[in-house]
Assembly symmetry: C2
Amino acid sequence: MPDNYLRHVVLFSFDDDASEAEIHAVEQAFSALPAQIPGIAGFEWGMDVSVENLAQGFTHCFLVSFRTTEARDSYLPHPAHQAFVAKLQPILDRVLVIDYWTGSA
Amino acid sequence: MPDNYLRHVVLFSFDDDASEAEIHAVEQAFSALPAQIPGIAGFEWGMDVSVENLAQGFTHCFLVSFRTTEARDSYLPHPAHQAFVAKLQPILDRVLVIDYWTGSA
């Protein structure tokens, strides 16, 4: 039986006037969280390359994996995560977050 | 260096009057695609369990992985995928699709 993960899917679109440097800083700050927050079991992200025109304007997808609900619940209020959110907020246009457990048959 | 994957993230919300049986049939039909379409390198899905109230009404997340852009491009028009879409359409409220390559630093 494969391991189950709690996947935390985060989509961003950024303000039109956000600079490339500002967006890059957010990408780097998010990518730094796994080293700062215990309980992150997996982390990956990338920019939209879909071809169906169904991304609803979202340009970035981050996938954070946890082993337990408790790990996710510790991550959200963690000071490092909150500092990241504060850095993100000034250039954030929209955000979508959906979490799911792998292992559905 | 870890393997890179092309992730194909698909979010659904269903019509209010969609029955549990109809939604279950869509879940099962999507889950049957990896056995029908070559080039699907990974497949998982689950229902939203997020706690931030940022899922924008989406209730289901499917994550389909490919090794190459060509595999994704073969999947989209594949008759089995198109048959799935036809089964989905009558009860689909909204859909969001975003694809990204893993491996961003």
